[in-house]
Symmetry: C2
Subunit: 286 residues, 2 copies
């Protein structure tokens, strides 16, 4: 029976640390602030927004939301982003994606000031994550996986880590963060031929495939650490991850559930990034 | 006995294609041009420069060299780069690295216009390689590995490919190019614990470790494809790769030598990139 890696516990531990840091900043006259930019009102975005606002409040970060109409033109959106970029009170910007299809996402991601780009969407930050430069921002979800592994004391150096998924929001940046921690990283995906064998060989298996319960018992090595980054809805309408939790839990040494796993850590990483951005901005002014 | 993958053969095949393309461009009034920017006179740079000039001439690309003094200030170097950026006759810029230590490489790599950055050093291009966006430029050496595998008809999709090395000039961008070809990629490095086993498990093994003859016979799987990206000088002063060629050649199905392997393809990729840049520039003006 594997130990269940609870996202809420990781978030609780992070909260204390983050609160201390915002207190220190306030004592220096710096009031960390996040602006969420939301185009339209997708239920996913609204759900994440509620969680993020609550988390920011808990750790002492001001959070405001710029609501933009779904039909907003590219020029208007760019203008709105520029305005927040230029506001010295705002340290972090979270622009929900995907944007409505009529907007040129490519142009907009260039617009967010890299120094405020707390979810790592600007190419400057993407390049930094790729090169292992800590001065930038990684996307929050892969960073949340790292925080979870750290909290549970799981050593990464020299370990065989297999990542299922090669997206730019999880698989690829996560692989780079793991490489920076000196793991030996294997990246699998839909075209991988011997997925079962490759996964079973991993000491740490991270599923970010976006496919409900695709990691079966036989894909997990005995005693492996299994982290589930998937968020899916199964045919019966139930929220579930990429891992068949009940089956894998028997074999793994550690396993993260969905819900209540990595997803519960993401907004804490967002807060961490806003604080980092606030510190960098304060350092520049000093 | 493995088939020897000869870089000169790959380069010869590429030459015909590249010549055709420059002829077509000239017929449209576009004269592809590369500017090499060299600070000081490191022997490595001079050797590469000679090869690159010759290759450009062979395929119909104009090539000129901006020689800059080793003691050049950062301001002067930035000014020199800006001048070439702004010259519409120049389609590609190759700035040799490493730069002398007194220069801020980080600032300079941002200066090279991404559209002329034919060796993929600008963060815009790094981010594109990472995300699998073909519109940018990868560094020439990893792209040369791909060209070599293509020339020898080696299928990558679904294959277990192990890359030894995680540098930003070879290992990491190469891993992304392989992933884009749908290989299952494992990245090894100095902290990898079970290097032997991980390498032996690979159907395609690529050595970019920078360590003379470190890939021994027992690290190569029987029938594996082994590509050597290393350029080292052994204790007896002889040029050699990362692979113990004589030993591995007996076991591998394909193996690339050093010298005469990947290194002989790099300047052809550079030419390919200059032509791509010239086409993009012509397309923009049209």
């Amino acid at each position: 029976m594997g130990i269940i890696m609870k996202g809420t516990e990781v978030a609780r531990a992070m909260k204390e640390q983050l609160k201390q840091e915002t207190e220190q900043l306030r004592a220096q006259g710096v009031f960390p602030q996040l602006t969420i930019m939301r185009v339209g009102a997708r239920p996913d975005d609204l759900a994440y927004e509620r969680g993020a606002r609550k988390r920011m409040e808990l750790v002492g970060i001001e959070c405001n939301v710029v609501e933009l109409p779904e039909q907003i033109s590219r020029q208007e959106l760019e203008e709105a982003v520029r305005k927040v970029n230029g506001d010295p009170k705002v340290h972090g910007i979270l622009l929900f994606r995907p944007l409505p299809p009529h907007l040129n996402e490519e142009a907009v991601i260039h617009l967010v000031d890299p120094a405020k780009d707390v979810d790592g969407m600007n190419p400057e930050n993407i390049a930094k994550v790729f090169s292992g430069d800590d001065s930038g921002f990684a996307p929050c979800t892969p960073q949340a996986v790292i925080r979870m592994l750290e909290y549970y004391g799981i050593e990464l150096q020299g370990k065989r880590v297999t990542v299922i998924g090669r997206s730019m929001v999880v698989g690829k940046p996560l692989s780079m963060l793991l490489l920076k921690k000196h793991a030996t990283v294997t990246i699998c995906h839909t075209r991988t031929v011997d997925l079962k064998e490759t996964c079973r060989n991993a000491e740490i298996l991270i599923a970010a495939a976006g496919s409900a319960r695709m990691v079966t018992e036989e894909m997990a090595g005995t005693g492996a650490v299994v982290v589930d980054v998937g968020i899916n809805v199964d045919p019966s309408g139930q929220l579930c991850g990429d891992v068949d939790f009940d089956a894998v839990e028997k074999k793994a040494s550690y396993v993260s559930p969905v819900p209540g796993g990595v997803g519960s850590v993401t907004s804490s990483v967002l807060a961490e990034h806003v604080i980092k951005a606030a510190k960098m901005a304060a350092g520049k002014r000093a």
